[in-house]
């Protein structure tokens, strides 16, 4: 495709907006994988569930996507806590989390994906809320609301979680668990409970990300797989436990993907995140913000 500055600047801005959305997907992985050491590769599957819940709410009750977030995210939180309890009971407690735990999450990913296919088919689903259809422009840069809203929500979510982790007692316990579980026990806090709450937050964030996803584009069940690579690439590139790293890596990935799509065509974009992941793992496994 021909090169032009307009195109480049538009692509960079669109990429940054996309990056904000990616941050909302990756934050759950940063919490579960980075802080709790739970390799939740089923995270994107929970996101797909969120997208389909939003679709179901919209389709049957005309539910605004923001209402969907408010209704389903708390459900996700409760489910996540119960899910972590089960995971802890069957795997962590036995010390089996390496092979068995990984395969377990892979099985969950698969069950959720096929379950969604069995319930609602393989058709693309979308919601067309009126506020998402319009576009506003600044100069020659045009910004569609359907990208702007997820960007803002993603950033807001990141900010809230950052505040929660740094200001509240439970939040700080979660950060402490990521550093030394034994030390947390010694100061009298309950690491299992902290992990439970954190995993609940991670699942709730996946549900919200799913609602954002269906605002951006039509969704079908297997789309979640592409996000495994994106979320883990961001998490690893960002230094695994670091929230600012997650944000920066999300923006880098969003811009890199949009540039690839603009100048080489959309069929190459899935390889960007995975290529980035492989390169990071091979050359700088501790990430940009890694210690």
């Amino acid at each position: 495709m021909d090169f032009s500055w307009d195109l480049l600047i538009n692509a960079i801005i669109a990429g940054a907006l996309l990056g904000g959305f990616y941050a909302s997907v990756a934050i759950g992985v940063t919490i579960a994988f980075g802080m709790l050491d739970i390799v939740n590769i089923a995270h994107p599957a929970f996101m797909i569930v969120g997208a389909y819940l939003a679709y179901a709410g919209w389709d049957s009750f005309g539910m605004n996507p923001f209402v969907s977030m408010a209704v389903f995210a708390p459900l996700g939180f409760v489910f996540g806590r119960a899910f972590y309890r089960a995971y802890n009971f069957f795997f962590e407690r036995r010390g089996d989390e390496s092979i068995q735990g990984l395969a377990f999450f892979f099985g969950i990913l698969f069950i959720v994906e096929i379950g969604v296919v069995l319930i609602s088919g393989v058709d693309y689903r979308s919601i067309d809320a009126p506020f998402l259809g319009s576009t506003f422009g600044i100069g020659f840069v045009s910004v569609p609301w359907r990208m702007m809203v997820p960007f803002l929500v993603g950033l807001g979510m990141l900010g809230c979680i950052h505040l929660y982790l740094s200001r509240t007692f439970t939040g700080r316990t979660i950060l402490a668990v990521s550093q030394d579980v034994e030390a947390v026990r010694l100061i009298g806090a309950d690491p299992i409970r902290a992990k439970e709450v954190a995993f609940g937050i991670a699942v709730a964030s996946a549900i919200i990300a799913g609602v954002l996803l269906i605002m951006i584009q039509p969704v079908e069940p297997s789309i979640g797989r592409e996000y495994i690579g994106r979320a883990f690439a961001i998490c690893v590139l960002g230094g695994i436990t670091s929230l600012p790293g997650t944000l920066l890596a999300s923006l880098i990935l969003g811009v890199a993907e949009t540039l690839t799509t603009t100048f080489f065509g959309p069929s190459w974009s899935p390889a960007v995140s995975f290529g980035l992941l492989l390169l990071t793992l091979a050359f700088r496994p501790s990430g940009i913000f890694g210690r």
Binding site: F33, V39, I41, F90, F91, R94, D96, S98, I99, Q100, L102, A103, F104, F106, G107, I108, F110, I111, E113, I114, G115, V117, L118, S222, R225, E226, I228, G229, F232, A233, V236, S267, W268, P270, A271, S273, F274, G275, L277, L278, L281, A282, P285
Partner: protein, 333 residues
Amino acid sequence: MSSRADSVPELRQPLPLSVRLRSGVAILLTGAALMAATMLLGTQVSEYYYLAAYTILQFVVLGTAWNILGGYGGYVNFGTAGFFAIGCYTTIVMDKIFSMPLFFDMLAAAATAGLVGFGMGYLTLRLRGVFFSIATLALTIVLQTLIVNWSFVGGARGVYVLRPEVSGIFVSYVQLLVALMVGLAIFAVLAAWAVEKSWIGIGLAAIRDDETAAETCGVPSLRLKLIATTMSGALMGMAGSLFPYYVTYVDPATAFSLAIAVNSIAMPLVGGTAAWWGPVVGAVLLGSAQQILTVTISSAANLFIVGVLLVLFLTAAPSGVVGIVRGWKRRRK
């Protein structure tokens, strides 16, 4: 309290050669019986049974290959579909450039997939096991993107492969494929058995239990993991190399199907990862169950059931059928 000399655990005497080779002989005999059945039944039974047998044997190979690295070494490979597809597309490229007997396609596929396994292992096996797992997921998607954009092998549209004429002792091409797959399955199981009983398997088990401790004791962990990854990748590639002639139409979505990855993880884990016969039992159990379910219900439902079985076994019987049988034997003693 006994004297100090008594408390030193007695070294286990090596078993006599006849006992050690018993499993290998059993594998060879089973293989010979299967091969004889394939050749003798010929046109006697409906071709459907051949197709079903092919699928189950393919999963015996994939499950066994996965288990060499995943079960013995504890490194989870999510990219079976990637290695399988490398085998597939190697055959397609070979078929387009020069037509050669199928056996050479298999060798080329083994070489390509083994090389990719080695390169990938070299880059990521020095990190924690989890990173290797995520990288294998990544590898699959990168490869799929490459194939989708490579029009020489059909790109996203897929490609048709013509089966050559069969000659000699074979009645049909499907029979030839099943015979080759029987041979490959025997080869894979023998290889896994040999690894398990040799110093490679013992070293891998030490890595699985505690990698740092193993390295401290002088186990060359990177070299062992690379051997296992290369072997495992090569076997997966060989399983894939026959696939184009089996289906005669290949597109990226089938070659890189998630079902391949899930099945080749589910089968060893359901069967049990500790012994060479675990993946075989798992593949035969899950493979036949899937054949029956595909015919009676639907193919989406059968994959769903594989996922549910995997999760059920992981939670309720984490050492699979092997664990159940061993526990039962121990209780009888």
